[in-house]
């Protein structure tokens, strides 16, 4: 058997029962841990956001209210499952799965830890390491758009329909910027495999991470695009309660609603993990000889937790965008900027490194000039817009 250059070293000696067993265990562990972490994430979000809003938050079920999500889940499970009369029944039932399954599967490509050896079997601490890794993520996040779209469409009700129309437009708009930032990372790593991307960042602590190597800007672009992709505040127009009742899941109840809820938070966790993988070196970080396999996992969890906190923070701090502002930000800011930055990264890779820096300075200077011209024209148009600016 030849050693495979890419992919999990587990399969380098062919696939036997032992390998199959390891894969099954990995899948089950990932499944269980994801479910539990969603439970904790919902609790974490409610607790942190209540802290930010001078409230106390859930504190009744279990210590510090940590079992509140479980209680809510049980309640939802026993509620009546309604099928609207005017709904398209098959699609209506299918939609929650289209949301939930990609949310589960997407996490499979995230490298959680390093490479470990248990009983002569060496394998990677991630469920799957396909050579097209990051493309799979993009594909799955596109499928979850279908979940939202079809849920809204099949409900046979106007608010869900409006919510799903918003969702599809928003997700397609931001996927462009998302793909562009991923391209930069892929250019730097030279591979689509998430393990390869992580390994490419693992030279020195922090400085070799993509957040620095791509020049910080793509990191923020990716953050914004991902937040929009997740339909999280401030981009939660899809389920804007004040305008659309509940958005695409207005007509859903009981366990089907719970599935949407689960998918939403699972996507948040997955995407935080993806940011860590793409830009912050994944499980990379100083490790010590004392239980050396544990440190990468701890690094990964710590970094992911930071981003989960950032998502909650965004929700607490920012008001929801208007629809035109959302589209402006997506098409007029994020996409041009990410296109520019792809140029910068690519030229830095192809030419000498100073060439990239020159381009970067030019882009920044050009942007500032554009801003100056805009501000200047607003000042001098004599329409009393001074007040608007001031």
């Amino acid at each position: 058997m030849t050693h495979l250059a890419i992919g999990d070293p587990l399969f380098s000696n062919g696939v036997h029962w032992a390998q199959l067993l390891i894969v099954v265990i990995k899948v089950l562990v990932a499944f269980g841990v994801l479910l539990v972490s969603v439970m904790l994430m919902i609790w974490f979000e409610r607790k942190v956001i209540s802290d930010m809003q001078a409230r106390i938050g859930p504190n009744r079920a279990g210590p510090f209210g940590i079992l509140q999500t479980l209680a809510d889940g049980v309640k939802l499970f026993f509620k009546e499952d309604l099928l609207p009369e005017r709904s398209d029944r098959f699609v209506f039932k299918l939609a929650p799965y289209l949301s939930l399954v990609p949310a589960f599967v997407a996490f499979a490509i995230v490298p959680v830890g390093g490479v470990v050896t248990v009983a002569h079997h060496t394998f990677e601490l991630q469920v799957a390491d396909p050579p097209i890794g990051i493309l799979l993520l993009l594909a799955l996040s596109s499928i979850s758009v279908y979940g939202v779209m079809l849920a809204g469409w099949s409900s046979g009700s106007k608010y869900p329909l409006l919510g799903s129309v918003r969702a599809s437009a928003q997700m397609i708009s931001y996927e462009a910027a998302l793909g562009m930032t991923v391209i930069m990372v892929v250019l730097l790593a030279g591979t689509l495999s998430t393990r390869g991307i992580v390994d490419a960042q693992a030279h020195t602590f922090f400085v070799s991470w993509n957040v620095i190597r791509t020049g910080v800007v793509p990191f923020f672009l990716f953050m914004i695009a991902i937040t929009a992709e997740l339909n999280r505040p401030p981009f939660d127009l899809v389920e804007a309660e004040q305008e659309l009742v509940g958005g695409f899941h207005t007509e859903y109840s009981s366990i089907r609603f719970a599935m949407f809820f689960l998918a939403e938070f699972m996507n948040t966790i997955t995407m935080s993990a993806v940011i860590v993988t793409l830009f912050l070196g994944g499980p990379d970080g100083p490790r010590f000889h004392f239980v050396s396999w544990l440190w990468p996992i701890l690094w990964f969890l710590g970094k992911t937790l930071v981003f989960l906190f950032v998502y909650v923070w965004l929700r607490a701090a920012l008001p929801r965008l208007r629809y035109d502002q959302l589209m402006d930000l997506g098409w007029k800011v994020l996409i041009p900027l990410s296109l520019f930055w792809v140029l910068v990264v690519a030229s830095a890779l192809v030419g000498a490194s100073w060439f990239g820096i020159v381009i970067a300075v030019l882009v920044v200077a050009g942007g500032l000039l554009l801003r100056a011209v805009r501000v200047g024209s607003l000042r001098n148009d004599g329409l009393g817009s001074e007040e608007v600016i001031a």
Binding site: D51, M52, A54, A317
Partner: protein
Amino acid sequence: MGLLDGIKEDMAFLGGFKVTLEQMTKTRVTWQYPIEKKPKPVRQHGRHVLNRYEDGMEKCIGCELCAGVCPADCIYVRGADNPPAEPVSPGERYGFVYEINYLRCIHCDMCVEACPTEAITESKLFEFSFTNRADAIYTKNELLVDDDGKPKQLPWEDWRPGDDAHTSAWMRATAPGGAAAYEGKVQWSGELGYGVRAPEAGQSGVRDDALTGIRSLRDVLQLHIDDAEREPGDRGVPGALKRLRRRVELQKELLKPPSRRKG
């Protein structure tokens, strides 16, 4: 204003992140309601009581004015002639049926205002939750004060210390005519278990707080003013809460020995 100011404006939304993060470090002002309870306002409108005279006679004369004035139509009264041998109330008639439906009552206190004999007043109890409709309709037996002059405590009612002490607060708050000349003058009859209740002083500021169970407006304002003179730890909302809690403790202390005077 230069370019930098323009960028600063564009980035002004970042201030929200600072505000939210700062908020995390501040103390909470939430009261853990079922565990800690705020002192109730003295004239709070709660569950009704039917009062009795000092000699044990019922005050209700069955005139049905309360039922007539009730905007929620929740009171049902039937009057009957007093049996000559053992009269229930002084006078001709007495309330022979008296029912209040608490699924309807809005606690507006208009029945209390309408009552010519101060028979019906409201206690401060608002925490009573029944599990069936029959329990929601309080009959005369349940509303009438017992032989101590205290309201009857039903199993589903959550009486707290002090709730049953000042059940006729409104009666003592104003002179019946509302005229300033009557300030401090007793214009009401005695009550079983309490005797003649002390009057409140309106504008003069002379009054016995322990007797009337009133917290002065000045005390309430004190929660909010004079912060400059206080220790840094006692200022603002946390300080006000601290003082309020101290006050609650003090009130509990005051109410501990049963203040029932034999009437």
